[in-house]
Every structure is written in structure tokens, then in C-alpha cells.
């Protein structure tokens, strides 16, 4: 059952990330950054509020997991090069950490 819920959540999360990137990514990947921040905040909130089992499989592992991405950030960062690339990657990681902590602490 959890497998199915992970699949359903991801089937929605991944195209939502594509849409955000399509609409907002420019020289700076604002769309990718936005979904990473929002997904991290939501997962932090879910875990901080003791959500587990099937709801966590659907919304956390499935939706938030597929809405956010590490691989695109790493590739965008290396392709950007210079100081801008590593700055974008480190900024994403720190920003997402702050968002997850904010969601988590609200519990």
C-alpha cells in the first residue's frame, strides 16, 4: 500500500517541479529553488508534527521527495561554474535546511 502512495505522490510532485522550472528558471534557477524550499518546509512540517505511515508515504516520501531534487541542483551548479555555481548549491542547501527546521519546529 505504501508503495502505491509513494508512486502517486511522486507522479504529482515531479511534474510540478517541471512546471515550476519551465515557468521560473532563468539564468538563476528560481523555479528549482522554489520547489526545493517549499518541499523541504513541507517535509519538515510533516515529520515535526509526527505524521508517519501512509500519509507520510504519500506526501513526504512521494510528493515532497519528487517535488525536490538534489541532482538538478548539483548539475546546475557545476554548469554555472565560477563562484555563482557553488554559491547557488550552498545557498539551496542552507535555505532548505532553514525551511525544514522552520517546518519541524512549528510542531
Amino acid at each position: 500500500m505504501s508503495v502505491l502512495l509513494v508512486a502517486v505522490g511522486a507522479a504529482v510532485g515531479a511534474p510540478t517541479r517541471l512546471l515550476a522550472g519551465h515557468l521560473l528558471d532563468r539564468a538563476t534557477h528560481w523555479g528549482t529553488l522554489l520547489v526545493n524550499l517549499l518541499g523541504s518546509a513541507l517535509l519538515g512540517w510533516l515529520v515535526g508534527h509526527g505524521v508517519d505511515g501512509r500519509p507520510l508515504a504519500l506526501l513526504g516520501t512521494g510528493f515532497c521527495g519528487a517535488l525536490t531534487t538534489y541532482s538538478a541542483v548539483a548539475v546546475q551548479s557545476v554548469n554555472a561554474g565560477g563562484l555563482r555555481g557553488p554559491g547557488y548549491a550552498a545557498g539551496t542547501v542552507l535555505g532548505c535546511l532553514a525551511m525544514a527546521a522552520a517546518g519541524y519546529d512549528l510542531g
Binding site: 508512486a7 541532482s71 541542483v73 548539483a74 548539475v75 548549491a89 542547501v93 519541524y104
Partner: protein, 138 residues
């Protein structure tokens, strides 16, 4: 390089994301995080980043836009995850394991960037940038 139409791209991302997330779920079930270092998501993010960097080397990805969306945005985007990496770091901080948290967050970032950088050395920059560009038609 031509671009995929938006509806096609959304379906490709959805199908690929589903498969990638199931792969991630399977691995995290096999390697439960417990209270230690979250190795499963660490390797998922590092290896997934390296594979995404290698995609432009595939002729099928360069030839057929929806294949790139399916494998890149879909499978590898759904496989790797920023939200779990962030949440697991916060959980480590919450347990007072600051050093492990720092090692996990910093280690994932450095290892993923190093892996992508190494792969990127083997792929011409114009191919990499073309693959990163929006593959979706207006």
C-alpha cells in the same frame, strides 16, 4: 535540438518521477536510517547527481527531448531529494548530533558536486548546457 511539448513533458516527468521515487523508497527501506548517518539518501543523492550529469552523453537524450525529460527531470529528479536531505539533517540537529549533521549536509553537497564535476570533465560544455536548457516547448 527540438523541445518536447508541455503535455508530453509533464507525462514524461510524472512517469519517470514515479519510477525514481520508487527506487529511492526501495533503497531507504533496505537501508533504514535509524539514528546514525543517513547513508541511503547520501548515496542516492550523490550517485543520482553523477548519473544526471552523464545523461547528455546518451544519443537518445540528445535526439528525443521527452527521453531527456523522462530520465533527467523524471527518474533522477524523483530519485534524488533535497527535502529528505534537509529533514534528516534537522532530525540529527534535533538529537544533538551536530557533528554528524554537519558531516551529512556538507558531505552530501561536496560529494555530489565533486561527482558531477568529474563526470562533466568528459562531456563537452555545449552538450551539457543544451541538456540543461528548458526542454519544453512554449
Amino acid at each position: 535540438m527540438t523541445a518536447a511539448r508541455l503535455p508530453v513533458a509533464l507525462v514524461a516527468a510524472s512517469a519517470g518521477g514515479l519510477l525514481g521515487a520508487l527506487g529511492r523508497y526501495g533503497l531507504t527501506e533496505m537501508m533504514p536510517v535509524g539514528t546514525g548517518f543517513p547513508w541511503a539518501v547520501f548515496w542516492i543523492n550523490v550517485v543520482g547527481s553523477a548519473v544526471l550529469a552523464a545523461l547528455p552523453a546518451l544519443a537518445a537524450v540528445r535526439r528525443t527531448p521527452w527521453v531527456g525529460v523522462f530520465l533527467g527531470t523524471g527518474v533522477l529528479g524523483g530519485f534524488t531529494t533535497m527535502s529528505a536531505a534537509s529533514e534528516q539533517t534537522v532530525a540529527l540537529l534535533d538529537r544533538g548530533e551536530e557533528l554528524t549533521a554537519l558531516g551529512y549536509a556538507g558531505g552530501t553537497l561536496l560529494a555530489a558536486l565533486a561527482a558531477v564535476w568529474l563526470v562533466a570533465l568528459a562531456i563537452p560544455r555545449d552538450l551539457r548546457l543544451a541538456a540543461e536548457a528548458d526542454e519544453v516547448d512554449e
